[in-house]
Amino acid sequence: MSDIMTAKDLNLWYDKTHALKNVNITIPEKSITAFIGPSGCGKSTFLKTLNRMNDLIPIVKITGEVCYNGQNIYDSSVDVNELRREIGMVFQKPNPFPMSIYDNIAYGPRTHGIKSKVKLDEIVEQSLRDAAIWDEVKDRLKKNALGMSGGQQQRLCIARALAVKPKILLMDEPTSALDPISTSRIEELAIELKKSYTIVIVTHNMQQAVRISDNTAFFLLGELIEYGETEKLFSQPTDKRTEDYITGRFG
């Protein structure tokens, strides 16, 4: 498997707080990579550096490189909007726009210039099918998306992200606000999606990392402590701190 993203000596500061310290990592294509660690360890922050969502916070300062397909995404020549189209994001709390289900999905394609009704219809249906929610919503595409349940809203957000045909999907604790049934649906969906997409998921839930991910990275206090195949990391961690965390000694 070839690597699709690489971070080199990445440092990040919130004003004076050093939130990420010399992070080096490579993320393989068409696989699920999980980031685990206690609250405040920098895993979500790191996830957001991968599609430059941290740009929206004025006090953030970043040094080092994040390469996507060999190109440093923090280079001044990079079109951030195009980057975020290729590297999509699903947030912790489902955040559908207050519009119809159809318009939610069509928002991305419309943003990138697709106007034809036929084409939009096609993309909406395909994205909803890929997110395994088509059968539940096909009869109410014109209804407001805020009327759906939390789990449905989150799958809608995944469908919305898929509609712009990204290469990578970043998921920031996508199931932390959901019930167990919705959670397992999203996990199944993630496993299904890794056939065509690269998925990076931040999770609080170690069982979730074990269940779905191929590789796991353990963060602590802004440092990447250990990174490797999920099975190996959980059965034979090399670092004492990793072992302490996964055996539940802190966190």
């Binding site: 929206l56 955040n95 559908p96 726009f97 943003t111 990138h112």
Partner: protein, 283 residues
């Protein structure tokens, strides 16, 4: 058990409270009834739909109604883009918190200045310096400055209620800043803009001091373009003129009654609009 003293105290306080509530309600009801009682008998078809004629001694307020309409329209057309634009800049773009704070403070101060001062400045600046003469246009320009803070502040407040998660979602799909604002942020704050407009319309209807200096007293029947270029009295100014300069108190009260009804309608529509949007948000 409550002591006797305590009981007497509670009764006294309750009585005082009922008296103040009763007085407030009675004052409002008295004012409204008084104006309606004095004014409504003078409202006639002739008054509403003709212009005044000095030769026949006829009094009609149609020109004043139209002038009011023109001035409201002209003011809104100018003030909405300015106010909404300023609000968008301040909440979405401006990085320097100090400058934003200063502008907000200035806007708040601006809305507390007595309107006659706006009239004086408007007369010197718009009528004389810019050469608009005494005209409805100069009047509406003055009202634009007066209402700018209202529109700006209500829009700003409702921009702040649009959840950050909507913006994040849109940015995450690769939308540029302006597209995010246009498609996700602005639709979420329409209610604020509308509320600001309704408040402004109410203020424009009630404004007289600023217009006495800038828009004049004429009662000529004009189309909108001609009307804006020439002097004219709005309903409120006409009320002043008829009462103070011609001693036509019946007409003045008729106008007062009309203004009162309009104000009532405007407040009612403000309530309806906010209810409508509150319902939409909840969904």
């Amino acid at each position: 058990m409550l002591s006797k003293k305590r009981k007497a105290y509670i009764t006294a306080m309750k009585t005082a409270m009922y008296i103040s509530v009763g007085l407030t309600a009675a004052l409002v009801i008295f004012l409204v009834l008084f104006v309606f009682f004095k004014g409504i008998p003078h409202i006639s078809r002739e008054l509403l739909f003709t212009k005044p004629s000095y030769t026949s001694g006829r009094i009609g307020i149609l020109p004043d109604v139209l002038n009011t309409l023109y001035i409201v329209l002209a003011t809104l057309i100018l003030v909405i883009p300015l106010g909404v634009g300023a609000a968008i800049y301040l909440t979405e773009y401006a990085q320097n918190k100090k400058i934003v704070g200063m502008i907000e403070y200035a806007a708040e101060t601006l809305s507390g200045i007595p309107s006659i001062i706006y009239g004086l400045v408007g007369m010197l600046f718009f009528c004389q310096f810019l050469g608009f003469k005494t005209s409805l246009l100069a009047g509406s320009m003055t009202l634009v400055i007066m209402n700018l803070p209202t529109i700006m502040r209500t829009t700003q407040e409702s921009l702040k209620t649009v959840p950050q998660s909507y913006r994040d979602g849109a940015f995450g799909l690769g939308a540029g800043k302006w597209r995010v604002i246009r498609t996700v942020v602005l639709p979420g704050c329409v209610d604020g803009v509308i509320t600001g407009c309704i408040l402004s319309v109410g203020r424009i209807l009630g404004e007289s001091a600023a217009l006495l200096f800038t828009a004049g007293f004429a009662h000529a029947l004009n189309g909108i373009v001609e009307g804006l270029a020439s002097p004219g009295a709005t309903l409120t100014v006409a009320l002043y003129v008829y009462a103070k300069e011609q001693g036509e108190f019946g007409v003045a009260f008729a106008i007062a009654a009309i203004l009162m009804i309009l104000t009532l309608l405007i407040n009612l529509s403000a309530v309806l609009v906010s209810k409508h949007f509150a319902k939409k948000r909840k969904l």
